[in-house]
Symmetry: C2
Subunit: 153 residues, 2 copies
Amino acid sequence: MINEAQKRQLALNLHSIGALKFGEFTLKSGIVSPMYLDLRLFISYPKVLKSVAKLYAQQLANLQYDRLAGVAYAALPIAGAISLELDQPWIFMRKEGLKKEYGLQKAREGSYKKGETVVMIEDLVTRATSRLEAIPAIEDHGLVVKDAVVLLD
Amino acid sequence: MINEAQKRQLALNLHSIGALKFGEFTLKSGIVSPMYLDLRLFISYPKVLKSVAKLYAQQLANLQYDRLAGVAYAALPIAGAISLELDQPWIFMRKEGLKKEYGLQKAREGSYKKGETVVMIEDLVTRATSRLEAIPAIEDHGLVVKDAVVLLD
């Protein structure tokens, strides 16, 4: 678990690079949130990304899983950084992979075996709609989504 | 520069995970190549990806640039790993960003200023066609593509 001091430091880091914004934001799910986390900025600040990866790693420490999973595009740099931090393999779902008409065999990248369990790497718990789209797409490949880890909830 | 011993070790590592295949492969450019490098497997082998990132880092050591650049999807995990290795920011071009009809403002991820120089992170020099597609898309954003670094040529 992330402790209070870590949360404060994280919020300061994210705010300093402009990734954490306060205000009134209507999320994809329709929920109005008092803050917005723009993960897209992480790739411009590798040091911040590395510290974020370490926080996710802490949360992943007590989970059992075969692979990490990220959904394109925003989660990819984060999932990649966590994978390097933990030396754990990951897979990713292409954006097109979330649409039924797209050939499933091309929907994901990374090798895996059927029945393996994955943990989804996500940004905010409020992105629940995105997750509801992604889970069936991942499970269509024979993988089992066991957990989802978010940075802030 | 990568020396001969490093090249041999790299080839062994890549071959052992099935990422480097020998045979006859017709590339996107129409060129028939005696080998094929499947970058998609890297995300399943974080240790190999880290060693590959170190080799790219060596090649980048003497170049002057503002950001690294990768084109979706194959180059993203590599560019991300190099960024963390070197503590250098990167940007990426979405796959849709290579198509003219797609809104340019959404074509790339990561912050940058106009006039900044980028180095493209690529897999093989033989992927020249992909590069020719990507360079105008990147330069349309006001960035200057100064160099391209490949793992094997």
